[in-house]
């Protein structure tokens, strides 16, 4: 085709490196989601108390996360903090920035979830002697996570795709590792095609696990 001969063997030899990159990718995707969800719960709860300082700070976080490019957020974590004399690794910068980004989007998703829960659920739980922390942990949040399960999973897809931005600051996640591996043979197309396939498979595995979780743990109720 086009007088170009594809060299798949070169790619095959570098598969272990790509696999290592894929593990970094998966790690960042998973950790950034876990951190993101935790922060998002705090942001969403802070936002419920309208007019307070915490609520305003939460709004700023959410709007900045959603209205600037994720790559810019990564640059800020990497170069911005660097300029302040805080040098963090590219791994930490990418993880931190994507967690920041996830938290903004997830907080907005959770807000919808909170709004869907009626006031009587709070009254019922309080009247059984639960303090606010228990009301949230046993009654409100489990319901919020059920209603928002799909959009949360959707966000985890974005987290996975966003990890590829790590390449730009030299992190060897899947895209970065691919970039590095191809730079010796310049078989760019072959390498990135394999990387694309790997992303595709990882995405499907995450969706499969999500379906499993939903089927196994989130049945009943709503």
């Amino acid at each position: 085709m086009f007088g170009y001969s594809f060299h798949w063997r070169t790619v095959w030899q570098e598969i272990p490196q790509l696999a290592e990159g894929a593990i970094v990718t998966l790690q960042i995707a998973v950790f950034s989601m876990l951190i993101g969800i935790t922060l998002a719960v705090l942001l969403a709860v802070a936002r419920r108390n309208e007019g307070s300082i915490a609520s305003r700070l939460a709004s700023v976080w959410i709007e900045v996360a959603r209205n600037t490019p994720c790559l810019l957020q990564i640059y800020l974590a990497y170069f911005g903090l660097g300029a302040l004399g805080i040098n963090i690794s590219s791994y930490a910068a990418v993880l931190g920035a994507i967690a920041f980004n996830n938290a903004g989007y997830l907080a907005e998703i959770l807000r919808g979830g909170f709004n869907s829960i009626s006031q009587t659920q709070y009254a019922a739980a309080h009247s059984l002697g639960m303090n606010s922390f228990r009301v949230y942990s046993y009654v409100v949040l489990p319901q919020v996570f059920r209603v928002t399960f799909r959009p949360i999973m959707n966000q985890s897809m974005w987290a996975l795709l966003n990890t590829s931005l790590g390449m730009v600051i030299g992190l060897k996640e899947l895209t970065g590792a691919t970039q590095f591996a191809q730079s010796r043979s310049f078989r760019t197309f072959e390498f990135f095609l394999v990387a694309a396939a790997m992303y595709y498979v990882i995405a499907k595995i995450i969706l499969g696990l999500a379906a499993l979780v939903q089927w196994r743990f989130l049945k009943g109720g709503r």
């Binding site: 086009f2 007088g3 170009y4 709007e63 900045v64 959603r66 209205n67 600037t68 490019p69 994720c70 790559l71 810019l72 640059y75 800020l76 170069f79 911005g80 660097g82 300029a83 302040l84 897809m157 795709l161 966003n162 990890t163 590829s164 931005l165 390449m167 730009v168 895209t175 760019t188 197309f189 990135f192 095609l193 990387a195 694309a196 992303y199 595709y200 995405a203 499907k204």
Partner: protein, 215 residues
Amino acid sequence: MSAYSGLSWSDLLFLLDGAGKTILLTALATLFGTVLGIALGWLRDSSRLVGWIVAPYVDVTRSVPLIIQFVLFNSFIAIAGYPLNPLWSGTIVLSSYMGVFTSEVVQAGLQAVRPELRRAGRSLGMGYWTEMRYVTAPLALRVVFPSWIGLVIGLTKDSALVGVIGYIELLRASQILINRTNEAILILLGAGLFYFIICYPISRYSQTLERKLKQ
């Protein structure tokens, strides 16, 4: 901008040029992507066969990082012997990306119009296109428009990735200047403000619109 910021006038012009390129690229991809998306969404809605045929394209576009789509397309056209300048390869990839997401919201919009209503239009003697023009399309538009605005915001931010294939839009320009001037924070905050000023008002507008249309 004077000595103490470490940024010169030419640096500022360089950034402004990048900002202009961000806008140009976003505008082109919005235009082509929307046209592609409407056509694709309509085809997917009206023909199950087309739905089947384009499903893998849609699925792959949504499951593979955009950055990789840029690199793959760029190296593919190089292999094929038709290299394009970064603006055009960026526009093509972003339009395809925008087209896929637009087709999804268009399809959802068309499906949100109840079949009874569509049949009612037809039974009043309207032809397919008349019915589409006066019944289905206006109703679908109410569902599609707020989501479409969301996609344009996404596109504005995603245009930042075209830097990887050598198109010096705002964020790539910022990165080049960061390496040269050590004014990382100032430059990044400036660039961030640029994106924010474009995206935030539009997203607020789309939220208000969505609330209004729901009533």
